[in-house]
């Protein structure tokens, strides 16, 4: 289930993100290294979602280079499809029957992994908030794309499920270029090959922080503690 072909890096060059006269980013140049997971941290409203949408090619001026899998901040499940069909949405939309048939197995495995094995036929309206988020996560991972963009994918999960799914995600993201927005510095330290903190209006990205070791890291690792403090300080707006 890992992605074998070479994943591309993601490049942002001189980008400008604005809504009306609200400038979110200006002259933004950033690189997300190929085949690695970058975690984005930043105060609420700084522009993380906007950057992710830019990377997904969803903002008007944004280019759309390579296929991506995008998980938005809200779950965006379609109320008229079962959980399984929601997870297979991409394959259904692309209308490739053979791919769809072979993806179904993958979807079931993923739904099992996120703990929804017994809810395949439920409608999203029958799920709890966390279940919905897990279904959306399964859908994103089922897409099997070289680039994966995820906006707060674990926000509604309990601590235990969260750790399990961080592991799952880290495993499935191996070899892909992933950008993951999170509000939990520890989570960023566990699943990210590198971490960038966005701050300011218009925002700028802080230097890449690259904890040692392989992902997923153990949250109990004392080496992460110092970095955690540094990240929180950066978030507070204090230079590291």
């Amino acid at each position: 289930m890992t992605y074998l072909s070479a994943a591309p890096p993601l490049l942002v060059r001189d980008a400008r993100i604005a809504f009306g006269d609200r400038l979110v980013a200006r002259d933004l140049t950033l690189e997300f290294p190929a085949g690695r997971t970058t975690c984005l941290l930043g105060r609420s409203g700084v522009g993380k979602t906007s950057l992710l949408r830019w990377l997904a090619g969803l903002l008007p001026e944004a280019p759309r280079a390579q296929p991506v899998a995008y998980m938005a901040q809200s779950d965006l499940l379609l109320p008229w499809l079962s959980v399984l069909d929601n997870v297979l949405l991409g394959y259904r939309l692309r209308g490739d029957r053979t791919a769809l048939a072979s993806a179904e197995e993958r979807a079931r495995t993923l739904l099992d992994a996120v703990g929804l094995a017994d809810r395949l036929d439920d409608r999203p309206g029958q799920l709890s908030g966390g279940m919905r988020q897990r279904a959306a996560l399964a859908r994103t991972l089922c897409e099997d794309r070289p680039v994966v963009l995820m906006d707060e994918p674990f926000a509604h999960l309990d601590a235990v499920t969260r750790l399990e799914l961080q592991d799952l995600a880290a495993r499935l993201l191996a070899g892909r270029t992933a950008v993951l927005v999170t509000h939990d510095p520890l989570e960023a330290l566990c699943v990210g090959h590198q971490i960038r903190v966005l701050s300011g209006t218009p925002f700028i990205a802080g230097p890449a922080i690259e904890p040692a070791g392989v992902v997923p890291r153990d949250p109990a690792d004392p080496a992460l503690l110092g970095l955690h403090a540094r990240l929180v300080a950066e978030l507070r707006g204090l230079a590291p």
């Binding site: 899998a69 809200s74 965006l76 379609l78 109320p79 949405l89 692309r94 209308g95 309206g125």
Partner: protein
Amino acid sequence: MRPLITAVGLLLGWEALVWVSGVPSYILPPPSRVLAVLVERSDLLLGEAVWTATEMIVGLLLGLVLGATLAIVFAASAGWRRWALPLVIVSQAIPVIAIAPLLVLWLGYGMASKVAMAALVIFFPVVSALYDGLRRTNEGWVDLARTMDASPRAVLLQIRLPAALPAFASGARIAAAVAPIGAVIGEWVGASAGLGYLMTLSLARGQTALAFAALVVLCLLGLALYYATDWAARVFVPWQSQGE
């Protein structure tokens, strides 16, 4: 039970209206007389009702299919929208007398021309409501589909269309309610038949009670069609809201 009580209540209200307002019975006959005629001429009424009901149902089905198709085409193609949307709007302004000979010329004196006219009246609420619904899909879903490399066609058919089904149901309800009048208007085209014909005839001949008996049958047909459509809409479109 309840619809029955309602019906009896309405009939009593009508009877009271006749007595209180003193409307002459050749303008508004009391329901008691209409009911008597209804029973007496049930044979005649039934025959015409079958004709009109057929027009209504075929017109509604045609209107639904045509309306849905057009709405989807409009949502899919700006070109079509630019050319055909004004045409569709304009089509609603055309009185039957202006094009009745044209319809007969093309479709003959039979039911086809009547149904065509009925469908012309019925299809519009469907186009309009569904097209509106297709335009106001939750943009998040559309964005998601775009990241999944969905073709515009797939977005339309698999995202926008199901999301717009409640709007379609809404349009279908309106269409069902106007189907009777659509059928009656359609009866102005081609040869004389149906409840609308019976009504015109009996009104011109001073048989107001018979005309109102025909009207009662028409209303019952209309109610039946409306509630059938409403029921179908509830069963087949269980999700209600447009957004999340």
